[in-house]
Symmetry: C2
Subunit: 139 residues, 2 copies
DNA sequence: CTGGATCCTATTGGATACTG
DNA sequence: CAGTATCCAATAGGATCCAG
């Protein structure tokens, strides 16, 4: 497995290029899509949001994220941890205690996601209306 | 319970509440997740990006988005159209001509997505490193 | 309490053939 | 050209049982 994405002197903080140009620069479009997929799955964002409020233990998190199965919570946390967005701290007591929290990277993701959240909140009604309209004209 | 995130007010539009509060206000968390799922699938963002450059016809789009199958391009466009993000204009000539373009709503989505794109571009190296590190320590 | 392992179903996406 | 229809493979996700 080669994670190796050609990471040349990536525009540290971009700076003067507009985003479109940046994206087309070196196949980063794919990276963006990948990240959206990662964070766009069924549970990741809800977990990140809950951890954004405060660090939580496994079962706390399970209760906080409504409807998530144990398996999916574990898998979601593992993915987020692997990406460096969430930290996992084990206290080897009996019974064991495991604390999850956002890392600095995870918190930094929070901001652009918050912008996206704002967009959704501002446009959800329009979107719902568009869907209803579309569904009408189709049938 | 306080959001660990400094929200820096931003309020690009209408929002006087901070995003965390908004999100928790009325189960919008789910709406955000839904939208991320919609836009986070394998092709939606790439299509939106290409249409953000300029309106395109079906097969133009197909060539522009590398690797997409005809079926998935159709489905992706239908979803985006249903959400009101993309417009579809049919010119009933022979052969038929169908033009796709971003709507105003679609273009407005482009901005927060650009922020997310910027974040990905700025942090992809860190993420790749985190993954490599994680993959090492587990095996 | 925190998960790993297993089994099963649903959804996603690709390949191909066909049509107005 | 711009799709639709069908079949198939891969993946995501849920339920359940087991273990340290």
């Amino acid at each position: 497995m080669t994670p190796a994405i050609a990471q040349e002197g990536t525009g540290t903080s971009g700076g003067n290029m507009d985003v479109t140009t940046q994206i087309e620069s070196f196949g980063a479009c794919q990276a963006v899509t990948d990240m959206l997929s990662r964070v766009g799955d069924k549970w990741s964002m809800q977990v990140v949001m809950k951890l954004g409020e405060e660090p939580r233990r496994f079962n706390e998190l399970r209760r906080a994220v409504d409807g998530i199965s144990q398996r999916m919570l574990t898998r979601t946390l593992r993915n987020l941890e692997r990406d460096g967005l969430v930290s996992r701290t084990v206290t080897p007591t009996v019974p064991p205690r495991v604390d999850y929290a956002l890392t600095d990277l995870g918190r930094s993701l929070w901001m652009p996601v918050a912008e996206l959240s704002r967009w959704v909140l501002e446009n959800r009604v329009v979107i719902e209306a568009a869907r209803a309209q579309y569904d009408l004209t189709i049938e």
